[in-house]
């Protein structure tokens, strides 16, 4: 007999005891630590001040003038600007796009938006390659009733710590940022809070530093498919917009060429959203993220991104060109109504 197997048999009891003990302790500490983190998280978020959606809606003057609702993450915040839409069509846009606003946030947001602002004519949803790989940030979700959010926010699994790793990371980042602000006595003011500023905002003026040299080897990233982390909320939102008879434009924003090649599975991405758009009468997919549609290689059009980097934001000059393209395509959707 193989001596390894006979050795294994001899020490089988010890091995089993060790493995069993390890599994039990792992399970216990996993639950214990998760409980501690959740408790700390609840205390932390109840302690920090937050700007409510009601304040934001209340600051909107002439509610009926808001015909367009813009949703998305930071890429949309830097890429799609109400200013161009207003200047072209005279229609005002309510922009609710910022870092950490994933599909779950947008779904809950839309419920509130309908209550306070009414149903929009057009929704522009800025798509990201990583749309199904992001988690809506907790501090934004705090704007909604916790019984609605908590059950969806925290995930179940054999290891609660592993299943909720993004949530734990977000919490630790929030704690760090708060610590930093209190130590350096920093104050920040987010444009996101201010509707008037959002309507006038046209992107970051100075382009960032982008490493334009293509390295011989860089990380390439597959498309993280549906449903992913919060994909079901994305579809729920589309269903609801369909019922409300809102025209939805799913807009894929340009990425810097290095990022474009990093996110290598664009065909799969396009195929998915093309198919999805076909399932709804009022949903349209507009893809600008292709070298033939936009000068992706011009680094001055972007503030970040690069080879091996999955995220890329348009600069002011880049977003100007992009928004002019977008509004010319929007014409058929906005004016026909």
């Amino acid at each position: 007999m193989n001596s390894s197997i006979s050795n294994f048999k001899k020490s089988a009891k010890k091995i089993l005891a060790d493995l069993l003990l390890f599994a039990i302790f792992l399970f216990l500490f996993d639950r214990l630590l998760f409980m501690v983190i959740r408790h700390a998280e609840a205390r932390f978020y109840s302690g920090i001040s937050s700007y409510s959606l009601q304040d934001k809606f209340a600051s909107a003057k002439g509610k009926s003038e808001y015909k367009v609702l813009i949703l998305g993450t930071s890429r949309t915040f830097d890429g799609i600007h109400p200013w161009y839409i207003k200047n072209t069509f005279g229609a005002r846009s309510f922009k609710e796009a910022f870092v950490g606003k994933g599909p779950m946030y947008n779904y809950f947001f839309y419920q509130e938006y309908k209550k306070f602002m009414g149903i929009p004519r057009v929704v522009i949803y800025g798509l990201d390659y990583f749309l199904f790989n992001i988690t809506s940030e907790r501090h934004w979700l705090k704007r909604f009733a916790s019984d609605l959010v908590d059950a969806s926010y925290f995930k179940r699994g054999f290891s609660l710590l592993l299943a909720n790793k993004p949530q734990i990371d977000e919490f630790s980042n929030m704690v760090l940022n708060n610590l930093k602000k209190s130590i350096w006595k920093e104050q920040n003011y987010l444009i996101e809070r201010d509707l008037a500023q959002m309507e006038a905002y046209r992107g970051v003026v100075s382009p960032g530093k982008i490493d334009v040299a293509e390295p011989p080897r860089f990380r390439k990233v597959m498309f993280f498919g549906y449903p992913g982390v919060e994909g079901e909320y994305f579809v729920k939102l589309l269903d609801e917009l369909q019922r409300d008879q809102v025209t939805v434009l799913l807009v894929s924003l340009p990425e810097y060429i290095g990022t474009y090649w990093t996110n290598r599975n664009h065909k799969k991405f396009q195929r998915f959203f093309n198919l999805l758009a076909k399932e709804y009468a009022n949903v349209h997919f507009l893809d600008y993220n292709h070298p033939s549609h936009f000068d992706l290689a011009n680094a001055s059009y972007f503030i970040d991104g690069g080879y091996g980097k999955t995220n890329s934001h348009l600069s002011r000059s880049g977003s100007e060109i992009f928004n002019r393209l977008l509004v010319s395509d929007l014409r058929r959707f906005i004016e026909k109504k």
Binding site: S3, L176, K180, P216
Partner: protein
């Protein structure tokens, strides 16, 4: 790790005499998975050097032996040169020509550096040299030799184990030993902790500061210190994982790091940092160079300096330059190596002066303070040299050094405070880990408590690990 789990699951069920085959096929799959064409780059030098060594073993004529040896060496070094240094060589020649005449812009050859080539080439070279000088016999079993060259835990970033120590292990039967397996597993988890919790977290701050050093003030200083720990945790973390996996499979790899930042001098630092490389450079480069220089000097002294000292100076400086170049095909790495050469020459030359200073200041009566000052001074010298290593170019490194200041930064980073706390925590654990055999209370811990502590540590790893896919820094070499 998934790949290793599969190998581990079947390894002990495979009969002893076929395990080398499982490991060899696994290693080739592991390497070829990244780019299957590059498997040839692993197989070709393996075959050439195997037959060169066998040829040396059967040839009686010294001239032929030398010819075969040099041919094998040339084949191994030639591949390394083409795939790693040709681009730098072309660019340098082109730039030099540009000083004297008008030259057309040079287009890149776009050669992709095969991962791990520097590591397995050094294994091959040491094997050939050892066989040539008859320190070890030429391995007869092609499969065992191929496994030594391609052994997957060491393939991408070492340790560069020597054939004399490793090949015999590959031939010995390996029994299932639960204590050895758990010890290897603990090392793997510790390596993961160093990489995912410390190195990747420090990388956020370091990358941010090095990417845009303008207006960072004091944060530049912290970035330099943090990078020192980032690269240590990144590389030693990988080494721990490689040594741990090797141990689980029943073999012992050489120790690659021995708490290098507690070194009291630069030479001690190099005997504790990347030990498998530094000892390789010592044995196959420094000592032959130093002896060659000493032999060339006729008489005991040259320009009033002992032949022995000349041997040391020339040997160490060239070794450090080449050691720097081994790290990457860029002049910044040569400068980085050169800085260590200068450090060591000054350290050697300044021995008497240091002794005088110690005597005059009375530090000899306070050995702990002397040790603390030496460690602090050495750590700062090492950290300074890392600036050249980390900066994207030589120019960027010089700009970075010019900007070093103690001014308040314009934009503070949230990671700074957390990283400091994390580093203290890490140093505490590392101290505990270093001394765990001497700490009585740990030894008296019942087994159940040790298992519980390990489970708790695994949970902490999940909580604090950075969820990113940063490659190990040394994979690029």
């Amino acid at each position: 790790m998934g790949f290793f789990a599969v190998i581990f699951a079947v390894y002990f069920f495979v009969p002893q005499k076929f395990r080398w085959l499982l490991l060899l096929l696994g290693s080739y799959f592991f390497y070829g998975y990244w780019k299957k064409e590059y498997l040839l780059l692993l197989v070709f030098p393996t075959l050439v050097t195997y037959f060169a060594a066998r040829g040396m073993a059967v040839t009686k004529t010294p001239g032929w032996r030398k010819f075969i040896f040099l041919s094998g060496l040339l084949a191994a070094l030639g591949l390394l040169f083409v795939f790693k240094y040709l681009e730098l060589f072309r660019q340098t020649v082109h730039d030099l020509m540009g000083y004297f005449m008008h030259v057309q812009p040079l287009s890149s050859l776009k050669i992709i550096l095969p991962i791990g080539i520097s590591f397995f080439t050094f294994k091959i070279i040491s094997y050939l040299i050892d066989v040539y000088y008859q320190k070890i016999p030429a391995e007869k079993h092609l499969g065992i030799y191929a496994l030594y060259v391609s052994f997957f835990p060491q393939l991408l970033a070492g340790p560069i184990d020597r054939a004399a120590q490793f090949i015999p292990q590959l031939k010995n039967p390996v029994d299932f030993d639960w204590e050895r397996i758990t010890s290897g597993f603990r090392l793997v988890v510790w390596g993961l902790f160093k990489k995912m919790v410390i190195a990747d977290r420090l990388a956020f701050f370091v990358d941010q500061v090095f990417r845009n050093p303008e207006g960072q003030g004091l944060q530049l200083v912290f970035a330099v210190y943090f990078f020192a720990f980032q690269i240590y945790c990144d590389f030693s973390g990988y080494s721990d994982m490689a040594v741990g996996i090797t141990r689980i499979l029943g073999f012992e790899s050489m120790k690659n790091f021995d708490f290098p930042y507690f070194s009291r001098s630069i030479s001690q630092f190099w005997s504790r940092w990347h030990i498998s490389l530094s000892s390789w450079l010592r044995d196959y480069l420094f000592l032959p160079l130093a002896y060659a220089v000493m032999r060339r000097i006729k008489g005991e002294k040259l320009l009033a300096v002992k032949a022995e000292t000349w041997g040391y100076f020339v040997g160490i400086f060239l070794t450090m330059l080449l050691g720097g170049l081994w790290h990457g095909a860029s002049w910044k790495f040569v400068i980085w190596g050169g800085i260590y050469g200068i450090y060591q020459i000054f350290s050697y030359a300044g021995k008497r002066l240091r002794k005088k200073i110690v005597k005059k200041t009375g530090l000899q009566r306070l050995p702990w303070l002397r040790t603390a000052l030496s460690v602090f001074f050495t750590f700062n010298l090492v950290s300074f040299a890392w600036i050249f290593f980390r900066s994207p170019s030589l120019g960027a490194a010089l700009t970075f050094i010019r900007r070093l200041s103690l001014a308040k930064p314009q934009n503070s980073s949230a990671y700074l405070i957390f990283d400091l706390i994390l580093l203290l925590f890490f140093l505490l654990i590392e101290y505990f880990y270093k001394n765990k055999d001497h700490i009585v209370f740990w030894q008296r811990f019942p087994r159940i408590a040790k298992v519980a502590a390990f489970a708790f540590f695994c949970c902490l790893l999940v909580v604090f690990a950075v969820d990113s896919s940063n490659e190990f820094i040394y994979f690029q070499f």
